[in-house]
Amino acid sequence: MALLDIRQRSGYLFLGVVVAHVLLISAQVNSKRTGIPILETVAFGMFAEVQRTVSGAVSGVRQGWSGYVSLRQVRAENETLKRELAEARVSLQQQQASVARARGLERLLDLRDHTDLRTTAATVIGGAATPDFRTITVDKGTRDGIRADMAVLAPAGIVGRVVVPVGGSAKVQLLIDRNAAAGAMIERSRAQGVVTGEGDERLQLENVSEASDVQVGDAVVTSGIEGIYPKGFVIGRIESIEKNGPAYKRILVRTAVDFSALEDVLIVVAPARDEAPAKEDGGRPPAPGRAGGDD
C-alpha cells in the first residue's frame, strides 16, 4: 500500500531520485581515474548491439536500394577503388610524416622507418546518445584486439581514440569532443602545443610559447607526446589567431577530418617500432633557432 501511495508523494520521489543522482555523481567524481564504470560498460555493450542492429537495418535498406538502381559490378569496383584510394592516402600521410620527421634533428640519430603502423579497419555504426558528447561507435571491439586509448585515423587525418572497447564494438571519443586533447605541433615551424576539442569542428591550440612561429594556414600535426597518437599525422590547419601582446591568446584549428562524413576508420592496433623514443623526443620543446627554419 505504501508503494502505491508513492505516486501521490511525487515530491518525496523526486527528492529521492535527485539524492540518488547526487550520490552517484559524487562517487564517480571522487574516483574519477580508477577506470571505466561497470554500468557504463554494460549499458554501452548492450546498446552497441542495438546500434549495430539499427545501423545494419538502415545500411541494408540503403544498400538494397543502391544495388537495385545501380550496376552491381560497377559499384563493387567503385568500392574497391575507394578503399584502395583511402589506403593510398593513409600511406601517403605516413610517407609525408616520415619526410617531415627526417628533416628534423632525429635524422642524424634514427633513419629507420618509423611509420610502420599496424591498423585494422572499422565501420562506424552509431553516433553519440547525446549532442553534448562527440563520440562514435565502431564495429570492432575487444574480440578484434581493440583496447582503450588506441588511436583512430581516417585518410584525412586523426579521428580520435578508443575509450570503451567491448566484445564486438568500441566507443571512440572524437578529437572534437570537449574532453579530448592531443599533443600537436606546427608542421612548418615545429612549434609544440596541445589541441583540445571545442565541441564543434574546430579545435583550440593551447600551451604555445609566445616565441613560437605560428601563422594562419599552417598545418598542425600530432606530436605524439601523449603516447596515444602516432607522430606526424594531420590534425588540421590554423584558422585564426588572437594575440594579447606577444602572447597567443586563442589559436583555433580547423580539423582536416570531416566528422559528419565518417563511415570507415582505421584503428592503430600497434604503434611504430620506434614510437617510444619518438615520444621522448616529442616531449622536448623545439630549440628557439629551429622555429620556422626547418624547411
Partner: protein, 170 residues
C-alpha cells in the same frame, strides 16, 4: 503497460538519436530526442512519469556517452519533474505554450548539465549560448510537431474511415 510504453519510447528516441548523430555530428545545432521524449511524457503523464523517464533517459545517455554517470540523469530528472508539474498546473494544449515549455526545458537542462560540469571542473564550455539556443529551438520544434502528429493522426484516420463508410452506403 504504461511503463513498457515509456521504456520503448526512450529506447526508440536514443536509437534514433545515435543513428542521426552520425550525420549531424559536426553541426552545432542538434536535437536531443531523449529530452524531447522526457518532456513529452511529463506533459502527457504527469511529474512522476516525467521524473522517472528523465532519470532513465539521462542515466542511459550518461552511460552511452563519455560523461559522468548521473549528471545527465539529474538534469533530465529535474526537467521531467518540473515539466510534469507545469503540465498538471497549467493548460498546455496549444502549440505556443508547448513550444515555450520545450524551449524552457532545454534551457533548464543546459543550465543544470553544463553548470554541474563546470562547477565540478570536468569539462570546459567556452561560449555555449548559441549552441544551447539552437538546440532549444530544435527541441521545441520537434516536440510541438510530435504533439501535433500524435493528436492529429488518429483523428485523421477516423475521419477517413468514416468517409469511406459513407461512400459505401451511397
Amino acid at each position: 503497460m504504461k511503463t513498457a510504453g515509456v521504456i520503448v519510447a526512450v529506447a526508440a528516441a536514443l536509437a534514433l538519436q545515435t543513428t542521426l548523430a552520425r550525420f549531424v555530428i559536426r553541426g552545432t545545432v542538434a536535437v536531443d530526442l531523449g529530452l524531447v521524449v522526457v518532456v513529452y511524457l511529463a506533459l502527457t503523464s504527469g511529474p512522476v512519469t516525467g521524473l522517472l523517464a528523465g532519470a532513465l533517459t539521462g542515466l542511459l545517455q550518461d552511460a552511452l556517452a563519455s560523461g559522468i554517470l548521473g549528471i545527465g540523469g539529474l538534469a533530465k530528472t529535474i526537467v521531467g519533474f518540473l515539466a510534469g508539474v507545469i503540465g498538471t498546473q497549467f493548460i498546455v494544449a496549444q502549440p505556443l505554450p508547448r513550444f515555450v515549455v520545450f524551449f524552457g526545458a532545454t534551457l533548464l537542462h543546459a543550465v543544470v548539465f553544463i553548470g554541474l560540469y563546470v562547477v565540478l571542473d570536468l569539462r570546459k564550455y567556452g561560449s555555449p549560448y548559441a549552441g544551447v539556443t539552437g538546440q532549444a529551438l530544435g527541441n521545441a520544434l520537434v516536440g510541438v510537431v510530435a504533439f501535433q502528429l500524435t493528436e492529429l493522426l488518429p483523428g485523421a484516420i477516423e475521419r477517413r474511415r468514416a468517409r469511406d463508410r459513407t461512400r459505401i452506403r451511397r
